[in-house]
């Protein structure tokens, strides 16, 4: 339903040209703006959104109110943004899932990423780290790959659910490293960490912020990181790409982005992108993000659009592989 209405709007070029002009003359923003977040208050996507919306409210002179609409892995937040767009300017801050893998994983998604969503800016990215118990036999990635390759499903890994970043990254890794691991889905990193510490499962991919303190406490160790370069929050952790038979371009990142409904005034998106980039350029903001395990990103709206397209393809092929296995 949303799709067809959007398509009609986009088709009527005149209509969509009229709308921005009005918005500009009125001196946007002239009223409080709503930013939908598909996760509960206090969660990391929520905290990331607040780091951006607080200064945004200050510089643009209107409050940017966070609306927490948790559910369905963040999809409900995006749906609610689209539902609210006829009433007011609505935006969303979301994790990568609803923009990349959700069309594959969520029946009745209710939106088409390409035609219904206007990218605004990439907020922050986080690599994943491969974590094992401190007692694990190997100390580096090649030792791990040897252990995992001893026989199919020699090692079991935990994830935060079917189709989650942790699941797909582990499958991508298995594919590139030529091993077969047993997937045990959990619902949170906390559960995965407990299961690894308790030696119930062997390993898992997770955000560095979820693992670091257990490493410091001597309960876990990290064997590698999925980013292209070493990460400040995980000092001394080697990059996985190019190691233990993995290709040089092996990379996996989680990200958070600011988006708007398609058809939002181009000038509004431009203004938001400029302001968000300015906020992300602030060293204090960068430090706050780093403390939470995130790297400030930024860049043009096209950078985000490109990111969505690339990741949709990469994770799509991983999902194909998982489907083929079943």
């Amino acid at each position: 339903m949303i799709i067809s209405r959007r398509a009609a709007l986009l088709g009527a070029a005149a209509a969509s040209l009229c709308k921005p002009a009005l918005a500009q003359e009125a001196g946007w923003p002239s009223q409080p703006q709503h930013v939908f977040v598909g996760f509960p208050a206090g969660s990391s996507p929520d905290l990331l959104a607040r780091i951006v919306t607080e200064p945004l409210s200050d510089t643009l002179g209107q409050p940017f109110v966070i609306e927490n609409k948790p559910g369905a892995g963040g999809v409900i937040g995006v749906q609610q943004m689209l539902n609210a767009q006829d009433i007011e300017n609505s935006f969303a801050a979301t994790i990568n899932g609803p923009l990349t893998t959700a069309p594959r994983l969520t029946p009745n998604l209710g939106y088409d990423v390409e035609s219904d969503i206007a990218p605004v800016a990439l907020i922050a990215t986080s690599p994943l780290v491969l974590v094992v118990s401190a007692e694990f036999e190997a100390d580096d990635l090649s030792g791990f790959v040897d252990a995992a390759g001893a026989e199919p499903e020699a090692l079991a890994y935990g994830s935060v659910g079917q189709g989650s970043g942790a699941h797909l990254t582990a499958e991508l890794f298995s594919d590139r490293a030529g091993v077969e691991m047993l997937h045990i889905p959990f619902t949170s990193y906390a559960e995965v960490t407990t299961a690894i510490i308790g030696n119930e499962i062997d390993c898992g991919f997770m955000a560095p912020s979820a693992a670091m303190q257990y490493v410091e406490a001597g309960q876990l160790k990290i064997l590698g990181i999925t980013s292209a370069e070493p990460f400040a929050q995980a000092p001394g952790v080697p990059v996985m790409a190019g190691q233990a038979g993995l290709p040089d371009d092996f990379r996996a990142e989680l990200w958070n982005a600011f988006i708007a409904p398609a058809g939002t005034d181009a000038a509004v998106i431009e203004t938001l992108n400029t302001k968000i980039n300015a906020i992300l350029g602030d060293e204090a903001v960068q430090q706050r993000l780093l403390d939470m395990g995130w790297q400030a990103a930024g860049g043009s709206a096209d950078v985000l659009a490109q990111r969505i397209a690339t990741d949709t393809e990469v994770w799509g092929s991983v999902l194909d592989r998982i489907d083929a296995k079943d």
Partner: protein, 502 residues
């Protein structure tokens, strides 16, 4: 620094005026939202969260925690007076609290719940101070097999709670189990019974279910009673206080409930709703007067109320010591800690002893405040019964709607609570127990997920449940309970076959 030294140090943090005042505000607000059906700690803490940016981390956390355990006190009030649990955790309290209130003993029921809540909290705090290290280790040692086995034991032990007919009880538990299946299956990622609704992907909202079954259903049931038949007489102060015989029935159940609750609270994912059910089941099994249960047994209030309060306290063990939140409210508390630059987990005790012990000491202060505040309030709560139905029930419906909406801002949940309310009313007409449906709903997904996870980890070998000693103990205990019930039934049959009464 550990144990009592830490606690004393914490007292010096928690007793600072700047922290104390927020502790008081937190527990007061907690009691209040606990009383209102539907609006609970979850909604209140999420609303308060942005405000805490302007407070010191200690004051912020002490206040938010105060709302959490304060709401456990308040939750019982509406359960007892109106058969409307203020929070899902206090649903069990309706079973005996309401009948007692019907007999004009509302004050006694409230007094029992306050004293039991306080005792439970104190046991929880004691456990937190003395055993937090051991409990944190136990939480790690608990794998999927242990959880599954323990939940099976819980289901077996509690599945006769509040039931007069076993077949009806079983039907309700099973219906609860089925409703618990709704949503995305954790193990396979498959959507079950969602009918294409994204809103159902995370399952039915627990608050909507509890408020629909108890709150809305009760309101519908009372529509037929257009006006209260005879306003309850003004209750004299001495009627509010229990007599000696009644007082004597509080301590042991409170002690047992408190111990049970502090154990379950410390296990992530089990939570205080389950512990209150189990405490009730335990009391009924131990009682020499099981027939009184469901008709206003003091033990049936004291046990569960002590259990849910001590569980609320010990739920902080995994959250603070492991960084593992046990339920959504604890996840929110964890988020609040992170916002204030405190990383809960194995390093927290060393990195932030002020915060850790200050928070625990504030539990002691807060609970003392709660007791002092709540005992005089009993008279005021009881006078709530004098509010005419035509004013009271519409107000309750509004609070239920507000509360359900505030959980995740979903209008879908509003329709759900209305529908569940109608179903709940139909069930109560047919004399089915909604408490058991809730039990099945809470336990079902836990059993299923952990059972399948344990089998997956064990590469399909069912022996995992007997090879792991803790799991084996739970399974054997569950089998023993079933065997006991079977023997009881057989004995009763042969006894009634011999005697004249059918």
């Amino acid at each position: 620094m550990s144990g009592w030294d830490g606690f004393l140090h914490g007292l010096s943090v928690a007793a600072q005026p700047g922290v104390l005042i927020y502790c008081m505000f937190g527990v007061l607000l907690g009691t209040f939202v606990g009383v209102l059906p539907g609006i609970g700690a979850m909604a209140t803490i999420s609303l308060l969260l942005p405000i805490t940016f302007y407070l010191s981390p200690e004051a912020a956390l002490v206040m938010l925690a105060g709302v959490y355990y304060g709401s456990q006190y308040g939750g019982a009030v509406a359960s007892i007076l109106l058969r409307l649990p203020g929070t899902p955790q206090s649903a069990v309290t309706t079973l005996d609290g309401y009948p007692l209130a019907q007999k004009g003993r509302a004050g006694v029921a409230l007094f029992t719940s306050m004293i039991a809540s306080f005792s439970g909290s104190m046991i929880g705090i004691f456990v937190l101070i003395v055993l937090s290290g051991a409990l944190a280790k136990a939480a790690v040692a608990f794998g999927a097999a242990e959880y599954a086995a323990m939940m099976i034991l819980g289901l077996v032990a509690a599945s006769t709670v509040g039931a007069k007919q076993p077949s009806k009880a079983l039907a309700m538990v099973v219906l609860g189990l089925i409703l618990g299946c709704v949503g995305t299956d954790v193990n396979s990622g498959v959507q079950r019974f969602t009918f294409g609704q994204t809103e159902l992907m995370d399952g039915i909202n627990l608050v909507a279910l509890a408020m629909g079954l108890f709150g809305v259903a009760e309101v519908i049931a009372n529509i037929r009673v257009a006006e209260r038949t005879g306003v309850p007489p003004r209750i004299a102060l001495r009627d509010l206080l229990p007599g000696k015989a009644e007082l004597r029935r509080i301590p042991l159940p409170a002690l047992r409930g408190g111990s049970l609750g502090s154990f379950f609270g410390a296990l992530p994912g089990t939570g205080s709703t389950i512990s209150s059910f189990l405490a009730y089941a335990l009391e009924r099994r131990l009682s020499r007067r099981p027939q009184e249960f469901g008709n206003g047994a003091i033990e049936g209030i004291a046990g569960p109320e002590a259990a849910n309060n001590s569980a609320a306290i010990s739920a902080f063990v995994p959250t603070l010591a492991l960084g593992i939140p046990g339920d959504p409210i604890m996840a929110l508390m964890l988020g609040a800690l992170v916002i204030h630059g405190v990383q809960p987990g194995p390093l927290m005790l060393e990195a932030r002893p002020d915060m850790f012990w200050g928070l625990i000491a504030s539990f002691g202060i807060g609970n003392l405040l709660l007791l002092v505040l709540n005992l005089p309030l009993i008279g005021i709560w009881v006078s709530m019964l004098r509010i005419p139905f035509r004013l009271l029930y519409p107000a309750i419906l509004i609070f239920v709607c507000l509360g359900v909406y505030s959980v995740r801002g979903s209008s879908f949940d509003m329709f759900a609570v209305a529908l569940i309310g109608i179903i709940g009313y139909a069930l109560s007409l047919a004399r089915f127990s909604p408490a058991l449906l809730l039990l099945g709903f809470v336990l079902g997904p836990l059993i299923e997920t952990n059972l399948r996870r344990a089998l997956l980890i064990g590469r399909g070998d069912p022996m995992v449940f007997l090879e792991r000693p803790l799991a084996a103990v739970f399974i054997i205990a569950a089998a023993g309970l079933i065997a006991m019930s079977v023997v009881q039934v057989i004995r009763r049959r042969s006894a009634s076959a011999g005697g004249q009464t059918p």
